[in-house]
């Protein structure tokens, strides 16, 4: 079976400083990969390299495109990469402001990706927007409100709807629950779990919160100082950590 994403030897340097290095893994359809690490571990750098926001200094990121099989997204033209970013890929930012148009209504935000791939029927676009807002638990009466009128959790859910409306196969998430209240986080994670399963999504989630990976990720990569120091099944890495740093990380989490 072809992997959906094939990451080979990705490295990014800032002068002599290592952003991330020696990262390789395969991701298959329906798999969720968590990347954990503390500040400065290189996890966000890695995510941005994978998602095409940064150009890595080395390595390949091959994606199984719908029409041409595995293609290295780093050597793709900018036009193709941007198209990928609007259709097959999705990116959920930590701060909703980065992932939404704050001066456009919720319906417009969700409809934008549809209009970008030539949807031209207002009624149909609006109905799909309503449907998606419902799936992320935002009521229909909010469809014409701007995101500035939403709470943080709602903005985040709107971001998810906006990203998933074109049925992407791969979702990148950067600290999706960061900055949200605990109860709001729980609701968001549940939603993500459900959507990932329903839509058979693959996802790469960067977080420093081990509870998030326990809940969402099948596989886990632990990063420290730009290196991947341990990788495996989520429950295995968390229950039977091999590396000293992983053991430290796991034992540091407070039990409630």
């Amino acid at each position: 079976m072809t992997p959906l994403l094939q990451v080979e030897n990705i490295a990014k340097f800032y002068g002599s400083r290592i952003g991330c290095t020696d990262v390789s893994f395969d991701l298959y359809p329906g798999e969720v990969m968590g990347i954990v690490g503390e500040s400065g571990s290189g996890k966000s750098t890695l995510l941005n390299c994978l998602a095409g926001h940064l150009t890595p200094d080395r390595g390949a990121v091959r994606f199984d495109t719908r029409t041409e099989g595995l293609r290295d997204t780093i050597t793709m033209s900018e036009s193709e990469r941007r198209m990928l970013g609007r259709t097959d890929w999705a990116f959920v930012h930590q701060h909703a402001h980065d992932g939404l148009r704050m001066n456009v209504s919720a319906g417009g935000n969700v409809g934008e990706r549809l209009m970008a791939v030539n949807a031209r029927h207002y009624g149909d676009i609006r109905n799909e927007a309503i449907d998606w807002l419902g799936r992320v638990e935002i009521t229909e009466d909010r469809i014409d409100d701007r995101p500035t009128a939403f709470s943080g959790g709602m903005q985040q859910r709107l971001q998810i709807a906006r990203n998933l409306v074109t049925g992407p196969r791969l979702v990148f998430m950067d600290e999706p629950t960061g900055g949200l209240d605990v109860s709001v986080q729980a609701r968001l994670l549940d939603l993500l779990r459900g959507l990932v399963r329903e839509m058979n999504l693959s996802a790469i989630i960067v977080t420093h919160d081990l509870a998030v990976v326990r809940l969402l990720a099948d596989r886990l990569m632990v990063m420290k100082d730009g290196h991947v120091i341990e990788t495996g099944l989520t429950d295995q890495v968390l229950d039977d950590p091999q590396h000293a740093y992983t053991q430290l990380l796991v034992s540091s989490v407070l039990q409630v």
Binding site: D218, G232, L233, Q236, D240, A244
Partner: protein
């Protein structure tokens, strides 16, 4: 069906002075279809550890653990995920509760994950919950607030929802009253008849003797405990 060949494991605790604790050495065991084997041995002999190694939850240091054609000890994460989805079920000692997911959805999940139609999955979940005496009024609630026994029964229902060819049961009758205990033992017996290979840990000796075909003494393979 399940073939454990010469497996070993030790834990290295890096942040506690790099203490190395060997927990298993050279353990071998074969379980055929329709057989139920009990892991026995004193507390600390490694029964739960072996079970977790079979499930891939713990890494195996050396040896092979064959479930059908797959060697869990050396398989890629993807293969183990597939294995857990369709081949190997695991009823742990404690239900890991996710808040906001209803009991019905908890039990239906293994079916939904393997592509069963949503209505069908829910119907099967309802049947199992009824059999295990979880009242209908609780089905829409999250198991977060249930008693230990209720949580355990939900856990068992989930473990038996999908017809796995191999099952791992860690203390399945703990916290259960006699009626439910009997129900669970009947469910295990039915699984055996279907040809499921089962490995279990039972502190309940009567249950163990009733349902298990043989016992596997872990003590022989535990360094420091071996007679």
């Amino acid at each position: 069906m399940i073939s454990i060949e010469n497996v070993s494991k030790s834990f290295v605790l890096h942040n506690q002075g790099t203490a190395e604790i060997p927990v298993m050495q050279g353990a071998s065991l074969m379980v055929s279809e329709g057989e139920c084997v009990a892991l026995v041995g004193a507390s600390g002999a490694g029964k739960s550890t072996l079970m977790r190694m079979i499930y891939g939850n713990y890494l195996t240091a050396s040896g092979r653990i064959m479930i059908g054609d797959v060697d869990v000890a050396s398989a890629a994460p993807r293969e183990i995920i597939q294995l857990r989805r369709r081949t190997l079920g695991y009823v742990s000692q404690f239900l890991r509760v996710v808040p906001r997911v209803s009991t019905l959805d908890v039990v239906a999940e293994p079916l939904l994950a393997t592509g069963t139609d949503a209505d069908e999955a829910r119907a099967q979940a309802e049947t199992l919950l009824t059999r295990l005496n979880i009242p209908q009024r609780l089905w829409a609630l999250s198991p977060t607030t249930f008693s230990g026994g209720e949580q355990q029964r939900v856990n068992i229902a989930r473990g038996f929802a999908f017809p796995y060819p191999a099952l791992l049961l860690d203390e399945p009758t703990a916290s259960l009253d006699p009626t439910n205990r009997a129900t669970v033992l009947a469910m295990i017996a039915e699984a055996k008849t279907r040809g499921v290979a089962i490995i279990g840990i039972f502190h309940d000796h009567a249950a163990r003797d009733e349902i298990c075909d043989r016992q596997f003494d872990m003590t022989k393979f535990t360094p420091g405990l071996a007679a």
